[in-house]
């Protein structure tokens, strides 16, 4: 667990100063400690991996290394010299660039103009000389062997071409240190290979990379050094070759804060099968077949791009699957129809509560009863008193901190908003409860309440599907299906070890390393 900042076998550097050295960085956001005396040293010419689970502090570190945020304590140095002041964007751009998941390419402009935005080639009268600008752009892309027509609008670029263009633009500012923030998240296998080839070429030309990824096998493929962050702290830095996969996974997971253990009584053997998913195929190509019995909690785990969210959305009818059937309590759901799945007794906590879960300006009562108008009204008219009574029950059951059912949801904290979403999913007394990342972005207390509610629901005989990559969410499951690249690769029964599960989500089989 101790830091070993000096990579002993790194032959690429000698007396040379590290490209970037961040020491004792501490950063707070309100009451949250995002980084606690963390640091990183990246040496010239290496490709350095930064890994850690969500909330480990990777994004904050990137923000500090690129000069978008100031650290509360600690120092950042480039090539041995202190970092420029935050306001001097040009100086930062000459030292470091980050290619984010969210592209900073402007779709409506041509590739050439994107490359030289706000620094267009100009003639004597201050007028832009487009021909020269295009030539410069062509030269720049040719220098880094990016084969893209600079005259085409950027909207026609593929995801990987955008990344290449962004990398070339960063290099044209003089930066030779580039941070890639999950560059492979939106690429397919062939695209990843092309990206890696490019990274190796640029590395040979003296470009240093900091590579952030959730996919451990990519780190073993492309990186020299790896730094692990966990819970806002620096855990270890080591040459990739000297850190085995189990050791890396152990460094990432560490000792988890254990949640209150739910009792895992074995299911009665005669519990009927409530959910039956047969050969479901989503538009993105993810596949799932599963059967779950009354009172059973089944987890679907996987990283980003594993297809777990897509299959869950297809099951509840949010998206229309390409093929396969979903049967809930003997009733075959109409594909892609949310009303039909609601009628069949499906309750849903969607992935993004802001986008699909809540109407923020409406009250708790209206949000909770949105899917069950028949329970709060008579002859098509909604009865406010019945609605408020139902909402009061939900507020009490889920310990929502609010003064009453008429409080607008937008006034609640994130955890309490998520409880409202959960309350709505439960309002119809569902036979099947589908929870997609139910505890994302909520505090520990709310997490406990939410997971406690799941346990109550299963006691009543509800089948629960928990779709998540949070270990705490998955711990309440009777069994967990692990998805990787659109397929179920492992099925683990209750009692799995954290390392095994994390490794399976990352696509690594610990027993065959």
């Amino acid at each position: 667990m101790s830091a070993s900042p000096a990579g002993p076998t790194d032959g690429l550097v000698a007396a040379d100063q590290p490209v970037v050295e961040a020491v004792n960085i501490t950063k707070r956001f309100g009451s949250t400690l995002a980084l606690s005396e963390a640091g990183i040293v990246v040496r010239r010419g290496e490709t350095h991996a930064l890994v850690g689970r969500n909330g480990a502090g990777k994004s904050t570190l990137v923000g500090i290394l690129t000069g978008l945020q100031a650290a509360d304590h600690g120092t950042v140095a480039f090539d041995g010299r202190p970092a420029p002041p935050l306001g001097d964007r040009d100086a930062w751009r000459r030292r470091v660039a980050c290619v984010y998941q969210k592209s900073t390419i402007i779709d409506t402009l041509t590739v050439a103009e994107n490359l030289f935005l706000n620094r267009h080639a100009r003639g004597p009268a201050g007028l832009i000389r487009w021909a020269r600008l295009r030539r410069q752009a062509e030269q720049l892309l040719a220098q880094w062997s990016v084969e893209v027509d600079v005259r085409q609008p950027a909207s026609t670029l593929s995801v990987e071409q955008r990344q290449f263009v962004e990398i070339a633009r960063a290099l044209s500012f003089g930066a030779r240190f580039i941070i890639l923030d999950e560059p492979t998240a939106q690429l397919d296998g062939a695209g990843i290979n092309r990206l890696f080839t490019r990274i190796r070429d640029l590395r040979a030309q003296g470009v240093t990379f900091l590579f952030i990824s959730h996919h451990l096998q990519e780190i073993y493929e492309i990186c020299d050094q790896v730094t692990v962050f966990r819970d806002a702290r620096h855990i270890v830095t080591a040459p990739v070759a000297q850190l085995s996969r189990p050791a890396l996974v152990a460094a990432m997971t560490g000792e988890e804060v254990t949640m209150s253990e739910v009792d895992h009584r074995p299911l009665p053997t005669d519990a009927p099968v409530l959910l039956s998913v047969r050969d479901l195929v989503t538009t993105s190509g993810a596949e799932l077949s599963v059967e779950a019995r009354s009172g059973e909690v089944v987890g679907i785990a996987g990283g980003g791009g594993s297809g777990k969210v897509e299959v869950a959305e297809a099951i509840v009818g949010l998206t229309r699957p390409v093929g396969g059937t979903v049967v809930v309590a003997g009733r075959t759901l109409r594909p892609g129809s949310v009303p039909d799945s609601l009628a069949a007794g499906v309750g849903l906590v969607p992935q993004d509560r802001h986008r699909e879960g809540l109407v923020p300006l409406l009250s708790i009562a209206e949000n909770v009863t949105m899917t069950v108008p028949e329970r709060v009204g008579r002859r098509g008219l909604i009865s406010p008193s019945r609605r408020d009574a139902l909402a009061r029950d939900t507020i009490a059951d889920l310990a929502i901190k609010a003064s009453g059912p008429h409080v607008p949801v937008s006034d609640l904290s994130g955890g309490n908003q998520q409880k409202v979403v959960m309350g709505r999913a439960l309002a119809s007394d569902p036979k099947l409860l589908v929870l997609i990342t139910p505890t994302a972005g909520v505090d520990v207390r709310s997490k406990q309440t939410l997971l406690g509610v799941v346990d109550e629901a299963r006691r009543r005989g509800t089948t629960v599907l928990v779709v998540s990559d949070e270990l705490d969410d998955l711990r309440i499951c009777d069994r967990v299906l692990v998805m990787f690249q659109g397929r179920v690769v492992r099925e683990m029964t209750h009692g799995w070890s954290d390392n095994d599960l994390v490794a399976a989500m990352e696509g690594v089989d610990l027993h065959h390393v």
């Binding site: 402007i106 935005l117 267009h120 085409q152 609008p153 990987e160 071409q161 990283g303």
Partner: protein, 346 residues
């Protein structure tokens, strides 16, 4: 991080497009500017068949003059639209700016009590432009500085400014304007009205500024992706503010031209013109979402619109039907651009 990606938000990781498709989309992008030229030629042919007078020099000058003032407002709106905002209040600025100037300089003795006669006549034109600049700066204050919604702010301004003009004029028309105010709208330079020269010059200037200066390209960058523009070092707030001021000054200038042509400022000057302005800009390929469109395209849009109106007049269509046909032209143009552009015009 990555698990927040869902099937809907996830762009497909597609292989690089083939060179053929790239050059084809390139050709379309270039042609987009000229997309209305065939339509303009077609209308010209139809017009000359309907009435041979259509292509006579007098009629062409007539069309150009009748569109010159609105065309300048279209130019102003185009600048704002490209940054991804919109300015509805331009039509009220169009009336208010010359209205304020007239109010301050005309002599109540000559105009049955209208006007104050507090400023010498030479101040009339500077006051017109100053009023425009102040309106633009105030719009900028609310939209850029306070972050209010541009549509609602400028809708409010549209009503406020119209009300202000009605208030100071008592709903009447300012007349007996000083010569400095009527000159630009009524003078003729080398046989062609000055307002035509002026509008063509401003459009030419717009083509150069928006196409060939960093400031102009900054407008496109902001409209395309404001965060990316900021990351590229563009001072987005300042550019937006300047764009709003320039647009209002242009609208004030256009108002001065029409007041000069009619030698009067009616309280309703410019009322309803904003719809025509938006229609011309959108037909000309300027996107309401920002980042897309060109000054030349906007010019072809307004030209096409006024040519059609002229043809309808020459064909003897009753004036009562003009609005119906105007609206039809706008809708047809949108449908056509949806079909040729492949994407919804927004």
């Amino acid at each position: 991080m990555s698990e927040t990606l869902s099937s809907t938000s996830r762009p497909a990781a597609s292989p690089p497009p083939e060179p053929g498709s790239a050059s084809r989309s390139l050709a379309i992008a270039r042609l987009r500017d000229l997309a209305l030229v065939p339509a303009i030629i077609a209308v010209a042919i139809v017009g000359s068949i309907v009435n041979p007078v259509f292509l006579s020099t007098d009629n062409i000058i007539n069309v150009l003059q009748s569109m010159s003032e609105i065309a300048i407002v279209v130019l102003a709106q185009t600048i704002v639209l490209i940054t991804g905002k919109m300015d509805l209040s331009l039509e009220s600025t169009f009336g208010l700016a010359p209205g304020i100037a007239a109010w301050l300089v005309v002599d109540p003795a000559l105009t049955r009590g209208l006007g104050l006669d507090v400023l010498p006549e030479v101040w009339a034109v500077p006051v017109v432009l100053l009023v425009g600049a102040l309106v633009g700066a105030f719009n900028g204050l609310l939209i850029v500085r306070f972050g209010l919604n541009g549509f609602v702010v400028t809708l409010g301004m549209l009503i406020v400014l119209r009300g202000l003009l009605t208030g100071i004029s008592g709903g009447q028309t300012f007349f007996a304007l000083p010569e400095s105010m009527t000159y630009l709208g009524s003078a003729t330079w080398s046989g062609v009205p000055a307002s035509i020269w002026l509008s063509l010059l401003l459009f030419a200037g717009g083509v150069v500024v928006l196409g060939y200066t960093r400031a102009g390209r900054a407008l496109y960058a902001i409209g395309g992706n404001a965060d990316a523009a900021r990351a590229a070092g563009i001072r987005t707030d300042r550019v937006l503010w300047i764009a709003l001021i320039v647009a209002s000054v242009l609208a004030a200038l256009a108002g001065l031209l029409i007041s000069g042509r009619l030698a009067a400022v009616p309280a309703a000057q410019g009322t309803g013109a904003i719809f025509q302005v938006f229609a011309a800009a959108v037909i000309g390929g300027v996107s309401l979402n920002g980042g897309k469109g060109s000054v030349f395209g906007a010019f072809t849009g307004v030209l096409l619109l006024f040519m059609i109106i002229n043809v309808l007049t020459l064909a003897g269509v009753p004036a009562q039907w003009t609005n119906f046909l105007n609206g039809t032209v706008i809708l047809v143009a949108l449908v056509v651009s949806r079909i040729t552009g492949g994407k919804a015009q927004t």
